[in-house]
Each structure stands twice: as C-alpha cells, then as structure tokens.
C-alpha cells in the first residue's frame, strides 16, 4: 500500500522481439541458442560498406502489435540513428526511430486489480492506459560477463541477437501502483502472443521492460524519475517498483533528494542499485538514417493487416458472454490465451451445451493440462471429444460423477469417451424393466424396512435407493430408480 499523502507516477517501456525468421535489416537467422556469432553477416557485424534492407515481415508484425494495442499507424515513418558506444553495438549506433515513429496515439483498456497481502487479486476493474508510441528498431548483441575464462578482466560479445527486430512500446506515465504496471505488462504480453507478433516470453528475453518511477506529495508536480532496468520477469518488475517507491519516499522524508539515474534490480538482495547517473548519461545525437528510405505504408495496409488478425481477446470475451451466456469471469478465463479460447469454442459446438463445456474446461481440463504441463493446443483430449463426453452426460448415459472419472481416463489413454464407457461397462441402466426388476428384488429382501416405511418413516427412502444403486453396481439411472421405488413402496 502506498503511504498516505504520497502519489506514485509510473511509465513503462517494453521491448518485444517480433517473430520473424530473419533479422530486420539482413537475412541472418533470428534463431535462439545457436553457436555464438554464427548468425552474422557484414550488415549485422557493422562492417564498412554494408547496407541495411528492411524486412517487410517485421513491418507487418509491428503493425499487428500496434493495432492490437490500439495505436494508429503513421503512413510515413523515418528510421534514425541512435549513437552510443557499447561492445554489443558494432556499428556504434542503433537503427531506431525517433521523431517520426511507426505508430502513435494509442489507448487500450485493460483489467487491473488491487492485491491483498499475499498477492491475490481482489476485485478486477477496467483501466485505460495511453500509449505514446510503438516504433521499430534493431536489437543489440549480447555481452557475456560470466561462464567464460577471466571474466574479471574481459567481457565477451555474441552478435547473433544484433539486428533482431524489436517493437518498442512506450506508455504515458499512467500507472499509480506497481500492480497496475504488472497487469499492463501481462496484458501486452497476451495481446502480442494472441496476434502472433511476438512470443513475448520474458525468460527467453524476447520481452523486456523498463519502468520510470517517481513519487510526489499528493497534488504537487512530477518528482524526479528513476529508470529501473534488469527486470527479468513481470514479478521482478513489480517488486522493483515497490522497493523503489519506498526508497524514494523515505529519502525525501528524511530530507534527501531523488537523483535522476538508472538503477538495476538485484533479486538476490531484493533491492535496486545505481547503474549510472544521468550526469554521465548519453547524448544520443539522433539523426535520420541515410541508408534507409522513409518507411511508407502502401494504400490499405492497415486494413489488410487488421483483416489477417484473429479476433482480439476483448472482442472475443464479449462475444463469449453474448453468444454462449458465459459470465464475465468465466469468459475472461477462457480468453486468457488464443489456444484455450479456440478449444472452448470447438468443445462448445460439439457439446451443444456451452455452459457445461465451459465448466468442464475451467475445472477438469485445465487441471489435467496443468498437471501434464501442456497448453490447450497440445491437449491429448480433442475439444470434440470433450463435447462428446458432455453429450453422454446430458443424454443420461452416464452420471456427472462417472464422467469425471471417464475424462481422467481419456487424458491418460487418449481413448474416446464412448470407448471408455463401453469398456468399463459404465453406461447407466435406463431400461425401465430392468430397474423395476431390481427394485422389486430389493423391496422383497427388506420386509422390515418396508413395514416401517409404510408406517410413516419416509426417511427410509434413502436406504432403499442406496440398496438399489448397490445392486446395480451404481449404474442405475437415479431419477428412474426414485420414481420406481416411490411407486413400489406405496404398494
């Protein structure tokens, strides 16, 4: 919780690697994990005379990302050189965009929630976030500081990543808590994955974020902002922001001043520490990239990209509520990933009972998938098979309780529901004659209880039902058993 009388201002920058096969300005592969420096060429090594040529797929994927986040595409944008020296940047400049970016003026609506002490979400509510810009740029290489000889004296450079296409997404300073920032990054991750723009996996480093954090006494102007880096997971980012808020408030309250600087999150120590102060910060001397023409989007480009994109999560959630009668939380859960949403929709159609399909997926299916460490797209039980199972229950062939066991068996063996029901002889007995026979036998075998029942002890009905179910090995249709028993017991 933020201390009384203080307000926090947070802005976020996300770098997302776009899912292309080749780099943004040359034909080298973007594959992860290859031998160091093997996927390099004169362009991404920064050799003299080599010239960049733009990968059009990076433009299309950048456009998908921009449209999914509610940004407007600029018909004309300009690449620019951002100049600085670092061993992972062989040209001495990064090709980025500056005053004429690829897309601007975004606004998205996301869900956010206050968390309790243990980090559990309490009440989800919608929040609007303004996105300043999304631009295209190339990634730098990777400096290696450990795992090789004499790292106390040397750093090692791997340029396989140099030139990988990135979308940099910058928000306005719209967040007031660390959890809002947390929910935003997760929202962006899901949106980028959903439209296939990026794998957006923070562990692999193909989504990275930086946070600008400042505090002020309520009602005052902006405080000095501190830039946080080395946020290797969404949770680290949330913790780093939380730490930074407290640090800054304490500092000011004890008479100190926040200095404008970059700080790194150290998860072992659970604190942020200074990386560099702004006094020694870079002067990037941006200027237009003379080796690349302006990026001009062809007529109708945005519409074409939009048409190729899958239905976005928010739209799909609304449709699930509308079309299938799902509640808001259920529809939200089922649209947490595209594969899961697809799975639900196919199961809903096959089952002819969307509510039941939703319930099965949210409880049993997700539990089984989680236990197996699989996503919905790799489920051993096809959505159509789940639909068939739901139909067996709805048709009175098996009970809901039996169906749970059948589903576990389906996950274990990959067999269909009807095959398992048949093999295990699980089908309910709904044959009136057969049930009548069992009921008669049970009633005849328990004359004492029959007498008591007829004398008014109606609670004994449960006893008779139990006996019949036992005699039928649990297969008798309970509704039919009840009806038949009531008739028989009256005499």
């Amino acid at each position: 919780m933020i201390k009384e009388g203080w307000e926090v201002v947070i802005g976020l920058e996300i770098h997302a690697q776009l899912s292309t096969e080749s780099k943004i300005f040359c034909g080298c592969s973007t594959r992860f994990g290859d031998e160091p420096n093997s996927n390099t060429c004169p362009v991404c090594l920064g050799l003299p005379g080599a010239l960049p040529v733009l990968n059009w797929r990076a433009v299309e994927l950048g456009a998908r990302a921009a449209l999914a986040l509610g940004l407007e595409l600029n018909g004309r944008s300009v690449f620019a050189r951002k100049n600085y020296f670092y061993p992972d940047l062989p040209k001495g400049y990064q090709i980025s965009q500056y005053d004429q970016p690829f897309s601007e003026r975004g606004e998205l609506e996301m869900m956010t929630s206050v968390r309790d002490e243990s980090g559990h979400a309490r009440e989800w509510k919608p929040m609007k976030v303004r996105i300043l810009r999304l631009h295209l740029e190339e990634d730098a290489g990777k400096n290696v500081h450990e795992g090789l000889p004499e790292t106390d004296r040397f750093s090692y450079v791997d340029l396989n990543r140099a030139g990988t296409p990135l979308a940099e997404i910058v928000t306005e300073p719209d967040f007031r808590t660390s959890w809002e920032a947390y929910d935003y990054v997760n929202h962006v991750r899901r949106a980028l994955q959903w439209v296939g723009a990026s794998e957006a996996d923070m562990e692999k480093g193909n989504l990275r974020c930086e946070a600008n954090v400042s505090v002020r006494r309520t009602g005052e102007g902006f405080g000095t902002k501190v830039e946080l880096k080395n946020l290797n997971s969404v949770r680290f980012m949330q913790k780093a922001i939380e730490f930074e808020i407290e640090r800054q408030i304490e500092l000011i309250e004890s008479g100190g001043r926040v200095s404008q600087e970059t700080r790194l999150w150290d998860d072992h120590l659970g604190e942020t520490r200074v990386m560099r102060s702004k006094e020694e910060a870079h002067d990037y001397r941006y200027f237009p990239e003379p080796d690349l023409p302006p990026l001009v989007l062809p007529e109708g480009f945005a519409e074409r990209v939009r048409a190729e994109m899958p239905e976005l999560p928010e739209a799909r959630r609304a449709r699930f509520m509308d079309e299938y009668g799902l509640s808001y939380p259920d529809a939200s859960q089922l649209t947490s990933g595209r594969a899961l949403a697809d799975y639900f929709e196919r199961a809903a159609k096959a089952s002819e009972n969307a509510r039941a399909a939703s319930n099965w997926i949210r409880s049993e299916v997700l539990r089984e998938l989680e236990a197996a460490g699989r996503g919905a797209e790799e489920s051993p039980v096809a959505p159509e098979e789940l639909g068939a199972l739901v139909r067996l229950v709805d048709g009175g062939k098996i009970s809901g309780k039996q169906a749970k066991d059948v589903l576990v068996e389906m996950f274990r063996t990959g067999k269909t529901a009807s095959a398992i029901v048949e093999e295990q002889g699980l089908a309910q007995v709904s044959d009136a004659g057969e049930i009548e026979r069992i009921v008669s036998e049970v009633v005849a075998a328990n004359p004492k209880q029959l007498e008591q029942y007829r004398a008014g002890k109606e609670s004994l009905l449960g006893f008779f039902v139990g006996q019949v179910m036992k005699a039928s090995q649990g297969k008798a249709n309970p509704k039919l058993v009840n009806e038949t028993l009531l008739k028989k017991l009256k005499g």
Partner: protein, 98 residues
C-alpha cells in the same frame, strides 16, 4: 553557430577519444571553418522542400526498399571472427564492461 573548445571537448568525449590541449587548440578553428562552410546553405530558403532522408538518389529509388522474411546463410562463427583483434571461445573478447 561558432564552435568552441567546449564543443570539441564534448564531441571527443562522446566519440570516446582522448584529446590533448594542443590538439584542441588546433582542431577548434578547423571544425569552426567546416561548420561555417556548410552554413552557406542556410542562405537558401528550404521551407517548402521536404527533408531528404535515405536512398533518394535516382539509383536509390530503383533499389528495392524492403525484402521478404527469408533467412539466408550467414558467415558462420569462424569467418565472422577472422578479422577480430581478440577472438576467444567463439566470441569477440573485449576489456571488461559493466
């Protein structure tokens, strides 16, 4: 816009170059002269001319401005490192940073 010694110092810093005092004294008027020369262009009214950015020569316009997303063979590790001053364990090795 006259170039001062402070400007030259800053440019040297940004370029990670060490510069001696006598070099500073020699370079400042030379750089000032270059800037002054280029400043002649300011005599022209360019308010209605679009800034030229990248590849706008007739040759440039005929060059494809974009390409398909297809990976092509790269140099490979050995060739990439061949001209490096201090290659080691498949990497470019440099004095420690960070």
């Amino acid at each position: 816009m006259p170039i001062t010694e402070a400007d030259v110092k800053k440019i040297a810093e940004l370029a990670h170059m060490e510069i001696a005092d006598e070099e500073l004294r020699a370079l400042t008027p030379q750089m000032a002269a270059i800037v002054e020369y280029v400043e002649q262009l300011n005599e022209l009214d360019t308010s209605s001319v679009e800034p030229a950015t990248g590849g706008l020569t007739p040759e440039g316009e005929r060059t494809p401005a974009s390409r398909e997303d297809a990976a092509r063979p790269s140099l490979g590790q050995k060739l990439a490192l061949e001209e490096a001053p201090d290659p080691s364990h498949g990497h470019f090795r440099v004095p420690k940073v960070l």
